[in-house]
Every structure is written in structure tokens, then in C-alpha cells.
């Protein structure tokens, strides 16, 4: 048994409490105090009377300080329930979330009769600061109230779970009003299932509570004032269709009501449950009643449940399309158990057909499907009737009497299969990409049957989200990959059947090339025919169930197909091959796609030129032409083709305004230089015209150079190639105009920064020396020091990354890098360079091969600069370095400490490593280090990091 707490002496309490004038010490004390016998004397001293100050910060945000006293009240709530409750009640008007949170946590520990006294202020807490309260704890608290304090529990739950109208959010059509609650959708969904047990214990009254919430949600109208509710549910029972997460609150409520209704029905209260659900005369609640009845019958087909079902089955309101899943389920479980006379009543209801709508409705449906409103025949209306009857009976056929089952079979032969007949709307996970046949099914067909199928199949008009051309095209691509010869037998016909199928065939054949597929002559002829097709029409496709509106997508697949062919045949390519490929590519190097309008629309802020070049036809063809040239030259094929391709490139360079084409040229620059330096020299004026006064010329050169700089690694040849461009980029004139980036990449680096990175790397690699014109240009005043800082940071990052990846690092290169960095730090120290050059030095500190005695002095220089941000990078290396350089490390830590507790301390990284750094300094025996460490400890304490101080004490053994 645990021994009694020691009663404190009055003077002990007074002395300790009087010394808690420092807020952080107060927090330390109250978060650790456990002895409930301190409560009374502390209360007598007024310890729990005042709340912490609040204030409004410069940004206008209302801020409040924590209430550490509340932690203690929570800790002793179970031992001193009366006094704790009384003390908390004094704060019933508090708007401080810390105080409200303490009241809530204490209530969870108080006996129910005391906790209920706090309910009004807990309700206020939930309304004012739900983000401070765990929704599942609200449920737990209500459970502790239980049946004996049902009113209190209900008040609490109402506050937490009653839905409210939220803001508007856009929909595909119009907008809708969100249904919200104090807790967000995720927590609402987490917490509501936990209410089941409590609400079941309340009996029928328990059902009224969530039913009231659900009705409230239903009554929140949509913003268009159409009178429709914002609540929609495809199936009451759990179903994939309801996993979309759009109606989190109402879905959670429907699930809760469904499970609660069943829980009560299962305890013998089916009639009461159904009466409650039907009482409000709301379609959604009627569906819940049907679902509950279905469960009851499935569990035990009692006479009572079947009587309920009998009435429901002839209620034509339940045959509305939205209620169909529940109706079908009820029929499935109830029909086999109905007495013959009840079944006859249902048959009569079914045959009467009132549920199908009026004659006028049926006429309208028939007219819609044939698009001719005035010429609907009686037979067509009858066909609609049969189809609606079929749709109803199909999903319940296993439960039907024999004659109706036969009728369903007969109707199937007339109307075919219907997917998900019980749903009025059915959304597949990938909208509109279902195929009527799989690749495997098509593989089993003969070429003729496949041709007939592709020619004859049309997407069903009444299935907006069902089978589609695109779905079939994707399966056809798979078929072309797995059985290329089978699809090749259709090569002569596919262009007539559909552009989408042509596209998918080349896509599949491209993949098959990797596996050794050798395309037949028919395939090449088909490619030639496709390439020659004019690319006219609107390229915007609104639906997946239509064919590609233009040829360009199929043509691009042809361009990629031939590139894959070159790659697959790289060791056997002959002159005939290369000319065959070129004849296909050449026309596409003048393809209209992308048009200037297309580039304006898609190549602006949302897609850079290099990315656009991958998704457009002409750049793809030019890129693959360069590949063809390389392959031709590397195979040593003696032909005029390489010169012809260079001619094409020169023409594009001079005449094509497309940025996407320029990106392809930039991407190819290194390869072109490898094979023909003279071509680069001859066209250097255009290629590198980054300071040209002509905007169009300059922008194309911007794209070419920026893509080249982003694509290639630094090396001797590349620096020679790019030297003219690099020098221009570092000229003052370059900064006077705006520039276009050809490739934004992941880091969105500017061209000038990429240039600076290449130059610094060139120094490290020994490609150039520090007195080279490139490097001295980089150091000129007009180049922002941040650019040099970024480049030096990238250098440090590269070495750090190499060590992290266990790559072999050249000691000579590291020494050159160290010298370069050291000389820049010396320049900063001497005042001849800006401290901004050291802004990213944190990467260097993480290079394990560099001694702390070298890196820490530079880091201290960097930290002294106001713009240094360690970005969570230096805590760990600084802690490691503190073993060798404790004084320097702790001094850097001191410099990085914020000035007050409202300032962010540059990340958790530094704070979490501070104890090691301080402990190393305290243990060092170096009086300066010890003094700095002590001052850092003091500041840490005043900033509220008392846990870190305890860690230091643990580390140095003075705890």
C-alpha cells in the first residue's frame, strides 16, 4: 500500500510559493507537484485565484500564457475533488484556453458528481477552444457521467457534436455549404463511434440525441437555396462509394445513427427505433429505418421484423433512386421469408408500376434516350418500363420467386448487364477509365474479332462515369506490349478506327521494343501514315469516353516509339534504319504543336519550357532527332544524315520562337559540342545571346543556357563550352533585364546561381584556378554576395552529401574546397567581402572530414552575420564538435540563442543538442567556456527551457 503524503509545514509552503515569482520556475514547480496536501495551504495563499496575463502581439494575435497551477489541480483532482472543483468553478468565465483545458482534464479525473458541476464551463471550453480538447476525451467524460447524470452528459455531447453551418466550398457545379462541428471532420469521425455504448445505455432516448444532430445537419441548406440539403449519402451501409471523405461530419453521424439504431433494435426495440426514424418524415432517416430492419431480419427473421419489412416493401417512396440500395437489401433478406399472401401484395405493387413514375415521366425518359422528343412510340415507353423493372429486380434476383428470376434472365438478354444497378450514381476510383474488355480478354481474340470489337464498340451513353474509349485504349496499350504482333495485324485499320487506339498501340509497341520486339513493315507504314495526318481541331477533350480529338498525341507516341527503336537497336542500327527513322521524325520537327498560344497558356507560370518540351510534339521530335544523330555518329554510319540534322537544328535555332524547342537545344548542347565544336562556335552568338537587346532572342538564349547549365555536370569540356555564356551571365548588363529560366527543377535556382555553382566547382575540380577570369568575375561587386553564399553552400552540401552516401571523396578536391571557403572567410574577416557569403556555411560544419578547429571559427563568423539561419542543420555537428572545441561551440550556441521567449529558437535541432554542448563546456575546465555555459544556462532557463537544464544536470551528474 502506498504511504500517506507528508503534510507540509505552513512556512515551507509559504517560502516555496513566495519564490515562484519567475513564471518558468512556477511552471516547473506546479508541473511536478503531486502531493495533494499542498492544495489547501496553496489555495489559502491565493495560488489558484489569478489567471496569467494575456496580450495582443504585434500581428494582432491574442496570446495567453500557460496556467501551470492548473496542472497541479489536474494532478490532485481525484484526491481533493471538492476543493479542486470549487477552485475551478471560480474560473467559469475564463476565456484562457489553458484554464479551460485544465478544467477539462480535471473533470476527467473527478468523480462524476463533482465533474458535473463543471459542465457549463466545459461546454464553453468546447465552444471556444475545441482545438485544445480531445474529442475522444469528451466521449470518455460523458461515459463517466453515464445514465445517472444523463442530462449533464447530453449537454456536453450536444456542445461537442451538434453540427453547425460552415463556410461555402466550390463544387464541380456551383458550391455547397459545409456542415461543421466544434471538432474537425477527422476527430469527429474518430470520436463518434465511441459514443455507441453510452447512447445505447440511454435506450430510446439515446437515439434521439444523434438523430437530433443528424436532422440539424440535414436542415443546413445548400448555398444555392434550392431547398435541397447539403447531406448526401449513396448507401446507408458502409460502401466504397461513401469513402470519399467529402461529408465527414454527416457520414459519421449517419454511421452512428445506423449502428445505434441496430444496437437498440437488437435489444428488442425495433418498433420504437423504426417509429423514431420514420417519425421525422425525412428520406434519409427512412432509409436508416430500412437498413435497420434489414439487419434485424438478417439476424433473425422475426414476425415483428417481417411485418415492418412488408410495409416498407410496398412504400413507393423507398423506391426512389437514392434509397434503392437499402430497398434492394431489404428485399434480398425479407422476400424469402414473406408469407405467400404478403408476397402477393408485393407482386401486385411491383406489377402496378406506380413506383416507376407517371406516363409523362416515362415518355420523357424514352425521348431522352433517342433524342427525339416528338416521336416516342408506345413500344419505346414500354421498353423503358421493362428496363426500370429490370434494373430493380436484377440486384435482388437470388431472393426472387422462380418466375421473376426467369423474367430477369429474359430482360438481361434484352438489355445486357448493368453495372451497380442499385445505385443511381456510381463513381469509379478513376473516373471514366473503365474498359469493356481487359488486355487478357482481347489477347484471346483473333485479329479479325479484335478488329470487329474495336470498330463496333461504343461507350454506353447512359454511363457518364462508366466504360470509356480511354479505358479500352489503356487495355489496348497493354495488349500491344504483351502481344505486339496481334495488334500489328490491325496496323492498316487502326487509323480508321480511332486516334486513341493508334496512340495506345504505339505506346504498347514502344514498351515491347525493350523486350526485343521488331516492328513489322505494316507498323512502319502505319507510323508514316499517322505522321502525315494533319493536326487540326480543338485539342481539349472534356470526356474520357470520346476519341482523341487531334492526331498530335498519337504522333508524339510515334516520335517516342522511334526513339525507343534507336535505343533498342543501338548496336545493330544501319543506314536504312536511320533514314527510316529520320523520314518519320523530320516532318514532326516542323509540327505546329506547341503553338505560341499553347506556350502562353501552359508554358507560363505553370510549366517551365523543358517540362513543356516533354509534353509537346515538335520538341519531342527534335530531341529524338538529336538522339538519332548521336546514334548515327557513334555507329560510324557514313551518311549525310548528321549534317542534315544539324541543318534542321540551325534552322530551328534561327527561326523557331518556341521556348520549348530552345529547351531541347539547351539540353542537347553538350552532345552537340562533343561531336561538332565548330557548329557551337558558329552559332554561339545566337545560343548565348543572354544579354541581347532583342527580347525574343534573349529569352531563347536564356532558356538554352539555363537548361544546359542545369542539365550538365561541371567539367573541363563543359566549362570551355559554356565560358562565353558564363562570362555574360556575370556581366552587370545581365542583371539589368529579366530572364527566363528554362527549367525550374526542384530547387528553383536562378541561372546566375547555377553559373556560380559551376564556377566554384570548376575551381574545386582544378579545371580553373582562383585567378581565372570566370572566378574573378564571380567576385565582382555587382554580383550579389548571396549568390556566392549560395554557391559556397552548395559546395559544402555536395561534400556533406558525398560523405553521407559513403562515396569516395577526393582529398585533393576537399583541400581545394577548404582553401576556397577559407579564403572567402578570410575576406569576410578582413572586411573585403560580405558576411552573406557565409550564410549557408552550416553545410560545411556537417562535413565529417573537416576539423572543428577549422569549421567552428568560420561558423562563428557566419553566426555573427544577422542573415545567418542555421535551418536546423547545426545542432548535431555543433554537439559533436563541442568535444574538441567546447569554448567555441558554446559561444556559437550563445550567439544563436533568441533574445526572448516569444522569438523562435531556430528550430528544435539546436535546442535538443544544447545540453551536450553546455555539458561539454562545463566539463572542459576552461574558465571562459564555463562562464559562457553558465550564462547560456541562465538564458535557457529564462526562455523557459527548464527541461534542457535538467538534461545538463543529468549529463554532468549534478541532478
Amino acid at each position: 500500500m502506498t504511504a500517506e503524503w507528508v503534510e507540509p509545514r505552513a512556512d515551507e509552503v509559504e517560502a516555496v510559493f513566495g519564490s515562484l515569482v519567475e513564471p518558468n520556475l512556477k511552471r516547473l514547480f506546479f508541473s511536478g507537484l503531486e502531493n495533494p496536501k499542498w492544495l489547501k495551504p496553496l489555495a489559502e495563499l491565493g495560488a489558484f485565484t489569478a489567471e496569467p496575463d494575456s496580450w495582443t502581439d504585434d500581428a494582432g494575435t491574442h496570446r495567453v500564457l500557460p496556467w501551470p497551477e492548473g496542472d497541479y489541480l489536474v494532478a490532485v483532482a481525484a484526491d481533493e475533488p471538492v476543493l479542486v472543483t470549487d477552485l475551478l468553478l471560480r474560473h467559469s468565465e475564463s476565456s484562457n484556453p489553458w484554464v479551460q483545458h485544465a478544467a477539462f482534464e480535471a473533470a476527467l479525473r473527478l468523480p462524476a458528481q463533482h465533474a458535473t458541476r463543471l459542465v457549463p464551463q466545459l461546454v464553453a471550453a468546447i465552444r471556444n477552444s475545441p482545438q485544445w480538447i480531445d474529442a475522444t476525451k469528451v466521449v470518455r467524460l460523458a461515459e463517466t457521467f453515464g445514465v445517472n447524470h444523463r442530462a449533464a452528459a447530453t449537454k456536453l455531447l450536444d456542445a461537442a457534436f451538434k453540427p453547425r453551418p460552415g463556410g461555402y466550398e466550390p463544387e464541380i457545379l456551383g458550391s455547397r455549404r459545409r456542415v461543421t462541428a466544434p471538432f474537425d471532420g477527422f476527430w469527429y469521425r474518430e470520436a463518434t463511434p465511441k459514443l455507441l455504448s453510452l447512447l445505447t445505455s440511454f435506450g430510446g432516448v439515446g437515439l434521439r440525441i444523434p438523430l437530433g444532430w443528424l436532422e440539424r445537419a440535414i436542415d443546413i441548406p445548400d448555398p444555392e437555396s434550392t431547398g435541397f440539403s447539403s447531406v448526401w449519402r449513396s448507401s446507408i451501409e458502409p460502401h466504397d462509394q461513401d469513402g470519399m471523405g467529402r461529408y465527414e461530419i454527416t457520414d459519421a453521424l449517419i454511421d452512428l445513427v445506423r449502428e445505434l439504431a441496430w444496437s437498440l433494435a437488437n435489444r428488442g426495440a425495433l418498433l420504437e427505433v423504426v417509429a423514431q426514424l420514420n417519425g421525422a418524415d425525412r428520406p434519409l432517416l427512412r432509409r436508416l429505418a430500412v437498413a435497420t430492419t434489414s439487419r434485424a431480419i438478417a439476424a433473425a427473421p422475426s414476425a415483428e421484423a417481417l411485418a415492418v419489412a412488408r410495409d416498407m416493401l410496398v412504400d413507393d417512396r423507398l423506391l426512389e433512386p437514392d434509397a434503392r440500395p437499402e430497398y434492394v437489401r431489404l428485399a434480398q433478406v425479407a422476400l424469402p421469408h414473406l408469407a405467400p399472401e404478403d408476397l402477393a401484395v408485393w407482386r401486385s405493387f411491383l406489377d402496378r408500376g406506380d413506383w416507376q413514375g407517371s406516363e409523362e415521366d416515362l415518355h420523357r425518359i424514352a425521348a431522352y434516350s433517342i433524342n427525339e422528343a416528338d416521336n416516342v412510340s408506345v413500344e419505346q415507353v414500354e421498353a423503358v418500363r421493362r428496363r426500370l423493372r429490370y434494373r430493380l429486380l436484377l440486384p435482388m434476383q437470388t431472393a426472387l420467386p422462380e418466375d421473376l428470376r426467369l423474367e430477369v434472365l429474359s430482360l438481361r438478354s434484352e438489355f445486357g448487364d448493368i453495372e451497380h444497378p442499385e445505385f443511381s450514381r456510381y463513381i469509379t476510383s478513376g473516373p471514366g477509365i473503365s474498359s469493356p474488355k481487359s488486355a487478357a480478354e482481347m489477347a484471346a481474340m483473333s485479329a479479325g474479332a479484335l478488329r470487329d470489337f474495336l470498330t463496333g464498340w461504343q461507350p454506353s451513353a447512359d454511363h457518364r462515369f462508366g466504360l470509356s474509349v480511354e479505358g479500352l485504349a489503356r487495355e489496348l496499350a497493354q495488349l500491344a506490349k504483351d502481344h505486339p504482333a496481334l495488334v500489328a495485324e490491325l496496323a492498316g485499320d487502326l487509323p480508321n478506327i480511332g486516334r486513341s487506339y493508334v496512340r495506345s498501340a504505339f505506346h504498347g509497341w514502344r514498351a515491347a521494343l525493350v523486350d526485343g520486339y521488331l516492328p513489322s513493315e505494316a507498323v512502319w507504314e502505319m507510323a508514316t501514315r499517322v505522321v502525315a495526318e494533319p493536326d487540326a481541331g480543338d485539342p481539349v477533350r472534356s470526356e474520357f469516353d470520346t476519341d482523341d480529338p487531334v492526331w498530335r498525341w498519337a504522333q508524339r507516341e510515334v516520335a517516342d516509339f522511334v526513339a525507343a527503336y534507336i535505343e533498342a537497336r543501338i548496336h545493330t542500327l544501319d543506314e536504312a534504319d536511320v533514314w527510316k527513322v529520320w523520314r518519320l521524325l523530320e516532318p514532326m520537327t516542323r509540327h505546329p504543336d506547341p503553338t505560341p498560344a499553347h506556350e502562353d497558356r501552359y508554358g507560363g507560370s505553370n510549366m517551365d519550357p523543358l517540362t513543356l518540351s516533354l509534353n509537346t510534339t515538335r520538341p519531342t521530335a527534335i530531341r529524338n532527332s538529336v538522339k538519332l544523330r548521336r546514334a548515327t555518329v557513334s555507329r560510324g554510319i557514313d551518311t549525310e544524315l548528321p549534317a542534315e540534322i544539324l541543318g534542321m537544328l540551325a534552322d530551328r535555332l534561327e527561326n523557331d520562337p518556341s521556348a520549348a524547342v530552345a529547351a531541347v537545344i539547351g539540353e542537347s548542347l553538350g552532345h552537340l559540342w562533343d561531336l561538332d565544336e565548330k557548329w557551337i562556335d558558329d552559332h554561339g552568338d545566337l545560343l548565348f545571346a543572354v544579354t541581347d537587346s532583342d527580347q525574343g532572342q534573349r529569352e531563347r538564349a536564356d532558356v538554352i543556357t539555363s537548361v544546359a547549365l542545369s542539365t550538365y555536370r561541371t567539367g573541363g569540356a563543359f566549362i570551355r563550352l559554356m565560358r562565353p555564356a558564363l562570362l555574360k551571365i556575370l556581366e552587370p548588363k545581365y542583371a539589368e533585364t529579366d530572364h527566363v529560366e528554362g527549367w525550374r527543377g526542384a530547387q528553383s535556382r536562378t541561372t546566375r546561381l547555377t553559373a556560380a555553382t559551376h564556377i566554384t566547382w570548376a575551381v574545386v575540380l582544378g579545371v580553373i584556378e582562383e585567378d581565372d577570369e570566370l572566378f574573378t568575375s564571380l567576385l565582382q561587386d555587382h554580383v550579389p554576395p548571396q549568390t556566392r553564399g549560395d554557391a559556397l553552400g552548395t559546395l559544402g552540401w555536395t561534400f556533406m552529401r558525398a560523405y553521407l552516401d559513403d562515396e569516395e571523396v577526393s582529398t585533393e578536391r576537399l583541400a581545394r574546397a577548404q582553401h576556397l571557403m577559407g579564403s572567402r572567410a578570410a575576406a569576410v574577416e578582413a572586411g573585403t567581402a560580405s558576411p552573406a557569403e557565409l550564410k549557408d556555411f552550416y553545410w560545411w560544419v556537417r562535413i565529417p572530414a573537416l576539423p572543428a578547429s577549422w569549421s567552428l571559427p568560420i561558423l562563428r563568423q557566419a553566426v555573427a552575420a544577422s542573415e545567418f539561419d542555421p535551418r536546423g542543420m547545426i545542432g548535431e555537428p555543433l554537439a559533436a564538435a563541442s568535444r574538441a572545441e567546447p569554448a567555441l561551440a558554446v559561444d556559437i550556441l550563445r550567439m544563436l540563442l533568441p533574445n526572448d521567449s516569444h522569438e523562435n529558437w531556430r528550430g528544435w535541432d539546436l535546442a535538443s543538442h544544447a545540453p551536450q554542448i553546455i555539458a561539454a563546456a562545463l566539463r572542459s575546465g576552461d574558465s571562459a567556456a564555463v562562464e559562457t555555459a553558465r550564462s547560456v544556462q541562465d538564458r535557457l532557463g529564462r526562455l523557459g527551457h527548464l527541461n534542457l537544464l535538467a538534461e545538463v544536470d543529468d549529463l554532468i551528474g549534478t541532478a
Binding site: D11, G18, V21, E22, L28, G32, A47, A50, G941
Partner: protein
């Protein structure tokens, strides 16, 4: 129980010495007095004066934004003048006479001015306490701050040979004096010393507070 120089008192002297040798001297003298002499009115008077002067001087030495203390001397003189001009009696009334007294409006206004100045003075004193403890005028309603203020006021009152509000005051016990002294000492250590040490002291206090009857410690 007797007073003694403890390690934390030695530390406090050293900390005060860094700020002001005069103030350190006042504190040292107070403790020396308590250590050397038995508890008496004189002893407490000397200690009270030392601590009062120490607290009056410390915020200024630390550069805290001290506002001018509101005095009651001038309004009291004006009340005397108004009282005299109204030809009202200076004879003390009986302590048992609680009946309402009628006074001229001008005297009432002068009396109100005295009371307002006294209230402002009280507020200034509490602000001074907060300044001393934290360097800021904040958390005046905090209960710990109020307790510290009470401890400081305890010494202020004992700085005078007679307290007119408590004509029959009795000598505090050694324990009571020690408690008040510890509170003001701890406040000064928090302000002047290293917070890591104070956190360690709080953790020690917590360990003691959370003990149970069978704890051997």
C-alpha cells in the same frame, strides 16, 4: 533555530557585490545582525531598515524603469489646511462612536486626495516588487508576487520603531522572520543569479514536497 550564513546567502552577497557594494553591505549587515544577536525589536528594526534600503535601491541599480513614488505629504498638508479653515476640531473622537459625521465638501475633497495618493503609493510599491522580481511591471495579481510583496512590506514596516497601524505589534518568531527573509532572498537570487541554480533549487523543493511518510529522505 538560529540564523546562519548559508551557501546561498554567500552567493547572494557575491551577486549583490557585483551590482553595488553598498547594497551588498546592507544585506551582509542584516544577516550579520541576525547571526550575532538574539531576536529583539532592535535586531528586527536594524534588519528591516537594511532590507528596506536594499529594496529601495536595487531596482534603480539594476536599471529597471522605476516610476516616482507617489507621496501623501502634500495632499496631507492640504487636508490639514482645509480642516483648519473649516474650523473643525482636532480632538480625537471616541473609538466606539461609529455614527456618520458631516464634513464640508472641501474637506471631503482634500481627504479623498490623500486616500488616492495613498492608493497610488500602494500600487507603486507593488510595481516595484514586480520590477525587482522580474525586471518588468507585470503579473501584479500573481499570488506569488503578492506573497513576495507581503514579505517586502514586512521588512518595510519593521524599519520603523513604531507602526501606527499596529500599535501593539509583537515581535515575530524566528521561524516567521526566516520565512520572510527566505522569500526575499530567493527573489533576489532569481533576479541576480543563474536560473539553472534556481531550477535546481525548485527541483529539490519538489522532491521534499512530494515525499511520503515512509520516505527515508
Amino acid at each position: 533555530m538560529t540564523f546562519a550564513w548559508t551557501a546561498s546567502r554567500e552567493e547572494l552577497v557575491a551577486l549583490l557585490e557585483k551590482e553595488s557594494p553598498d547594497l551588498a553591505g546592507l544585506y551582509r549587515h542584516a544577516i550579520d545582525t541576525l547571526v550575532a544577536y538574539p531576536l529583539s525589536f532592535t535586531t528586527v528594526l536594524v534588519v528591516g531598515q537594511c532590507i528596506r534600503e536594499l529594496f529601495n535601491g536595487l531596482p534603480r541599480v539594476l536599471g529597471d524603469p522605476v516610476s516616482d513614488r507617489s507621496g501623501v505629504d502634500r495632499p496631507a498638508k492640504e487636508l490639514f489646511d482645509a480642516w483648519s479653515a473649516a474650523d473643525m476640531s482636532f480632538t480625537p473622537v471616541s473609538d466606539t462612536d461609529d455614527s456618520p459625521q458631516s464634513i464640508p465638501a472641501v474637506v471631503h475633497r482634500a481627504a479623498l486626495a490623500v486616500a488616492s495618493s495613498a492608493a497610488a503609493g500602494h500600487q507603486n510599491a507593488r510595481e516595484l516588487t514586480a520590477l525587482l522580481a522580474t525586471g518588468r511591471v507585470a503579473n501584479l495579481e500573481d499570488a506569488s508576487m503578492r506573497r513576495l510583496h507581503a514579505a517586502i512590506e514586512f521588512f518595510r514596516k519593521w524599519a520603523h520603531r513604531r507602526d501606527y497601524s499596529q500599535p501593539d505589534r509583537t515581535l515575530p518568531s524566528i521561524d516567521a522572520l526566516e520565512t520572510e527573509l527566505r522569500i526575499v532572498e530567493e527573489a533576489m537570487l532569481i533576479r541576480l543569479g543563474n536560473l539553472a541554480d534556481r531550477a535546481r533549487a525548485i527541483r529539490a523543493s519538489l522532491k521534499a514536497a512530494n515525499r511520503r511518510l515512509d520516505d527515508s529522505t
